[in-house]
């Protein structure tokens, strides 16, 4: 499902115009991104939570030529599905 299809589907469900849906979706993404960048986490009902995880810097060895490369520390957004979403995703598709 692409962004376009998502907008289409949401606009039908929430009885909004596509433009309004697009704006709201953008705003949602912005809010979530800003919250995550500030270090907070976002919880969405019936869906899950988005959090920031710190990944420490580490060195890896390329097994082919033995070169060592440093991977810098970074922050990664992670998603944790809550029970409801897990249930929904698993029960009906099976």
């Amino acid at each position: 499902m692409t962004n376009k299809e998502l907008i289409q589907s949401v606009s039908q469900k929430a009885a909004l115009t596509k433009q309004a849906t697009e704006k709201l979706l953008e705003a949602t993404a912005q809010i979530i991104a800003e919250t995550l960048n500030e270090g907070g986490d976002v919880k969405i009902q019936h869906f899950g939570s988005l959090e920031v995880r710190d990944h420490q810097a580490r060195t890896i060895t390329n097994p082919r030529n033995g070169k060592k490369t440093e991977i810098p520390a970074k922050q990664v957004w992670t998603f944790k599905a809550n029970a409801r979403l897990k249930q929904v995703v698993n029960e009906k598709s099976k």
Partner: protein
């Protein structure tokens, strides 16, 4: 959820109910999308994907029993490339300067408030930018004029009332007092840029709009002039035709068209005089306006799959002359390329000049007319 809804309603300028509906619809749609093809992309955020986790064997730790954990589907999220970049940038220490800029603006506001309270409005307004700058530089150095203490107090009070960000910013900026002069210079530059840029943009847009309007006016003027000239020409030719016809009918009652009189080349003095008066009427035949034929040499009943060009070939020997048949039968023919079998077409008698296809004037006329009629129909 509650806070997200509130933030969304504030950001998107919609009621909380709409925001709530939207969020519910969004989660539902994402769920459906995941179930449908296991992949949902939200631009500006990232992608939700379904990952198949195969069944695996494990051991119950307490009993030592072997158990199988059933396979399931896991929802995974990968952040979008754009956001990943943005996150990196915000981590870099560009922030303090920006926040300082914000603070400087706040200080400006506070200063104006103070001056409003103290009563010298005019003075405060005129010397506002200088004040704010000097104060922002003074703020970090301990020896200060007495107003400054009031300011910082007020600022602290305001920041408590204001956004939740403010208290976090305070401590981060205060320790960086050694770097302060550099920041101030940057601030000044920023302000100058901002002040010069802001009036510049409306000017440019205004100029562009004025230019576009002028262009449109000029174009409209030319189009109008062209159409008026065209119309006037048509009217003149029509008038000339009308004026000439009665004159001919009186002078040469049998021959209605002036070309026949012209072709005779009468030798008598009277006729030559008349011919002279008539010569300017001759180009009427080469006008783009439709000719009016009064004499007919035959009528043709159109056969199956016939064309005007074929009829012209049959009667005149030249298929290019179809345009005149078309003009003579405009009452029946809607389109030059739409001839129905069984139609009765009148074939007009053509003057010698018009029948002569090799005459350059006629040739040009035929080309123009055929182009015109075919274009109209297309």
């Amino acid at each position: 959820m509650v806070s997200l809804r509130r933030a969304l309603s504030a950001r998107g300028r919609v009621s909380e109910k709409v925001a709530d509906d939207f969020l519910n619809a969004l989660t539902e749609s994402i769920q459906e999308g995941l179930k449908a093809d296991g992949n949902v992309t939200i631009s500006g955020l990232g992608t939700f994907k379904l990952q198949d986790m195969p069944a695996r064997e494990s051991v119950n730790v307490t009993t030592g029993e072997r158990i199988t954990i059933e396979g399931y589907k896991k929802v995974v999220f990968t952040q979008g490339a754009a956001r990943a970049k943005a996150a990196k940038q915000t981590e870099e220490p560009i922030d303090p300067i920006k926040k300082l800029g914000e603070q400087a603006e706040e200080i400006k506001d506070i200063l104006s408030e103070i001056s409003a309270i103290s009563g010298d409005n005019s003075l405060a307004e005129s010397s506002l930018p200088e004040n704010s700058l000097s104060d922002s530089s003074h703020r970090t150095t301990p020896p200060q004029p007495p107003i400054n203490g009031v300011e910082t107090c007020r600022q602290a009070g305001l920041s408590d009332n204001g956004e939740g960000k403010e208290p976090e910013n305070e401590p981060t900026i205060e320790p960086a007092s050694t770097e302060q002069p550099q920041h101030d210079v940057k601030e000044e530059e920023k302000k100058e840029n901002g002040e010069t840029k802001k009036p510049f943009n409306p000017w440019l847009t205004g100029l562009i709009t004025i230019g576009v309007f002028a262009m449109l006016l000029v174009i409209a003027f030319f189009v109008l002039r062209h159409s008026i000239i065209h119309w006037a020409e048509n009217m003149r030719s029509n008038l000339e035709q009308r004026v000439n016809k009665p004159e001919q009918s009186t002078v040469v009652p049998k021959k209605t068209a002036d070309f026949s009189a012209e072709a005779e080349k009468v030798s008598s003095t009277e006729n030559t005089e008349q011919a002279e008066t008539r010569t300017p009427t001759k180009p009427n035949y080469y006008n783009d306006a439709e000719r009016k034929f009064t004499e007919w040499q035959a009528t043709e009943i159109v056969g199956q799959d016939s064309r005007l060009a074929w009829v012209a070939k049959k009667h005149y020997g030249e298929k290019e002359l179809w345009v005149f048949i078309y003009e003579a039968n405009r009452d029946k023919l809607n389109a030059a390329d739409y001839v129905l079998p069984g139609m009765e077409l009148r074939i007009p008698k053509l003057p010698a000049e018009l029948r002569d296809v090799n005459n350059p004037q006629t040739k040009a006329l035929l080309e123009r007319l055929s182009k015109k009629y075919l274009q109209v129909n297309n």
